[in-house]
């Protein structure tokens, strides 16, 4: 398998558990372009986790195909397939009897890397996920906080530079503040690494924040809509999707764009007295400011505080 990001294709992928009525995943077809994050989201019973585990064959397909860079997953040796895919789960599943170094080095050891190369890779990854390469490598998982453990889980999944990452509610068990920070760091990492990622969550806001594309699955494992966050929020295909993304979907859509994305009227002398906000703020924050300040327009400023332009309420609401 390539180490460059790989394209992932679900082609009529179906899973039916024996002895159970209906499918868990029902003729799922979608393509995740190389280097993009696809978020699987939906109510419980929607088969998101099942769909994810079909990819690394923790759950065998009943029918249909899944292809990684054009090659069917069934054609790979199963251990080779799994070693070439990064896998992160909600409870992290770090090995409690191994140090952080031992945990992160698991797949490289299985692949027969020499010790020097593993040690260097562990240092590199600890730095990448914001842990201390010297102090933390000898610690055991029980000595870390939940957020730190999740970072180690991410580093462990990245260890052998996989082309594809599977992440099953990776930030689900973490408190909201740390979760938000981990999401930001994950997106920053993804900006550098450009992996193909399948990311399962039940949290719509997380899906909108993290996903390049979102696949909404409904009960019975049927795909309701597969689109960019923007299009899902602005054009939900049916009532199920509209309900699922929430009544505040218009507001959520605003959070996807920043003031810098707008065509701004030049800031004239009348900018004085207007509330001001930096250009990288979201339209949602800008609207909140206008409401709070009972103002009709605000001054958009650059990173250095100099005025960039003026945005009116009408501009924000497009």
């Amino acid at each position: 398998m390539p180490t460059e990001a790989a394209e992932l294709v679900f082609d009529e992928a179906t899973k039916v558990y024996p002895g159970r009525d209906g499918a868990a995943v029902d003729h799922l077809s979608l393509t995740v372009p190389a280097g993009e994050i696809c978020v699987l989201v939906g109510p419980s019973g929607g088969g998101k986790t099942t769909a994810l585990k079909l990819v690394n064959r923790l759950i065998p397909l009943t029918s249909g195909y899944i292809r990684i860079d054009g090659r069917q997953i069934g054609d790979y040796d199963v251990t080779e397939l799994r070693r070439s895919i990064g896998y992160v789960i909600q409870q992290v599943g770090l090995f409690p009897h191994m140090t952080i170094e031992g945990n992160i080095g698991t797949v490289p050891r299985l692949l027969g890397w020499d010790r020097k190369r593993i040690r260097a890779r562990v240092s590199e990854l600890l730095e990448l996920v914001g842990l201390d390469p010297d102090a933390d490598r000898r610690r055991f998982p029980a000595e870390l906080s939940g957020g730190q453990r999740q970072r180690v889980g991410l580093a462990r999944a990245l260890a052998a530079n996989p082309a594809l990452m599977l992440m099953d509610e990776p930030f689900g068990a973490i408190d909201p503040i740390v979760r938000s920070r981990l999401q930001d760091e994950f997106l920053r990492l993804q900006g550098e690494l450009r992996k193909t990622v399948v990311f399962v969550t039940h949290d719509v806001d997380e899906a909108i924040k993290v996903g390049d594309r979102i696949a909404i699955l409904r009960e019975g494992g049927r795909l309701a809509q597969y689109d960019t966050p923007q299009r899902i929020l602005e054009h939900p295909v049916d009532d199920f999707v509209a309900d699922f993304v929430g009544r505040d979907r218009a507001l959520k859509a605003l959070s996807l764009r920043t003031l810098g994305d707008l065509d701004l009227a030049p800031a004239g002398g009348d900018g004085d007295g207007m509330p001001s906000l930096s250009a990288d703020s979201s339209l949602r924050d800008a609207l909140a400011l206008l409401v709070a300040e009972r103002s009709d327009a605000l001054l958009v400023v650059g990173a250095d505080g100099s005025p960039v332009g003026v945005a009116t309420r009408e501009d924000l609401l497009g």
Binding site: L58, R82, F95
Partner: protein, 241 residues
């Protein structure tokens, strides 16, 4: 038994030695006797006792491990196997020794068989519990990362079961050291031998009883402490939680 008093002087009864005042009056502990008979009675008995224990726990561990693997791999046989080890443990030791005499004669084997049987009860359970105690998320991530079934067993399940297995070994060793003394009722071997000799004396020879009994306790404490050290060294992570 009662009422017999030893005249001062001559060596009348084995293990009793030449009478000094301490021995003649059968005081609680006569250091001189213990020192004089360390080489010919106490030390050989101690060495025999260690051998009895090592052989019993070693064979018991081997059998338990194989049985536990079956019970762990095939859940259906776990309950029957556990019941068998329960049943063996219920047989009174002295009865087990007596029952075996017609089969294995008055040999050390007669002592070893029940000793091995008793360790199964403790070891089987601890090994199975330890192996089953590995959390599902750890197993799932191991599988998802591409470890084979054998690699998961050797690198994940077995090391994580080590604290439970070593705890079982500690209990089994200490209880074997204790039960092994009873075997000397039939076969003159181990620290039980001087204990029974002392009990056979008129008025009970207190020094020999206390010396052999004390050595048994000391041996048990030492074995327990050694295994505790091994446990700490092998599983440094287990004290963190």
């Amino acid at each position: 038994m009662t009422g017999i008093r030893l005249a001062g002087g001559g060596p009348v009864i084995p293990n009793f030695g030449h009478g000094n005042a301490c021995l003649v009056d059968n005081h609680w502990f006569c250091t001189s006797w213990a020192r004089n008979h360390w080489g010919d009675i106490l030390q050989p008995a101690l060495v025999q006792h260690i051998e009895l224990t090592l052989v019993a726990v070693g064979i018991g561990f081997g059998i338990s491990f194989v049985l536990a693997l079956c019970g762990f791999r095939y859940r259906l046989v776990d309950a029957p196997l556990a019941s068998c080890t329960d049943f063996l443990y219920m047989i009174p030791s002295i009865a087990a020794f007596e029952l075996l005499v017609p089969v294995t004669g008055l040999t050390v084997t007669t002592i070893e068989i029940p000793l091995v049987a008793y360790t199964l009860f403790i070891l089987y359970r601890n090994i199975v519990v330890g192996l089953n105690g590995v959390s599902t998320e750890v197993l799932e991530s191991a599988r998802g990362m591409g470890l084979t079934r054998l690699q998961i067993f050797l690198r994940v399940e077995l090391p994580l079961a080590a604290p439970a297995i070593l705890a079982g070994l500690r209990i089994a060793t200490v209880s074997t050291i204790s039960i092994a003394t009873v075997g000397a009722f039939l076969i003159h071997d181990g620290l039980g031998a001087p204990i029974f000799d002392a009990l056979d004396q008129p008025d009970i020879f207190r020094t020999e009883l206390l010396a052999a009994g004390g050595l048994t306790i000391l041996l048990a404490l030492t074995a327990d402490a050694l295994l505790a050290l091994v446990q700490r060294a092998v599983t440094p992570w287990s004290r963190l939680r």
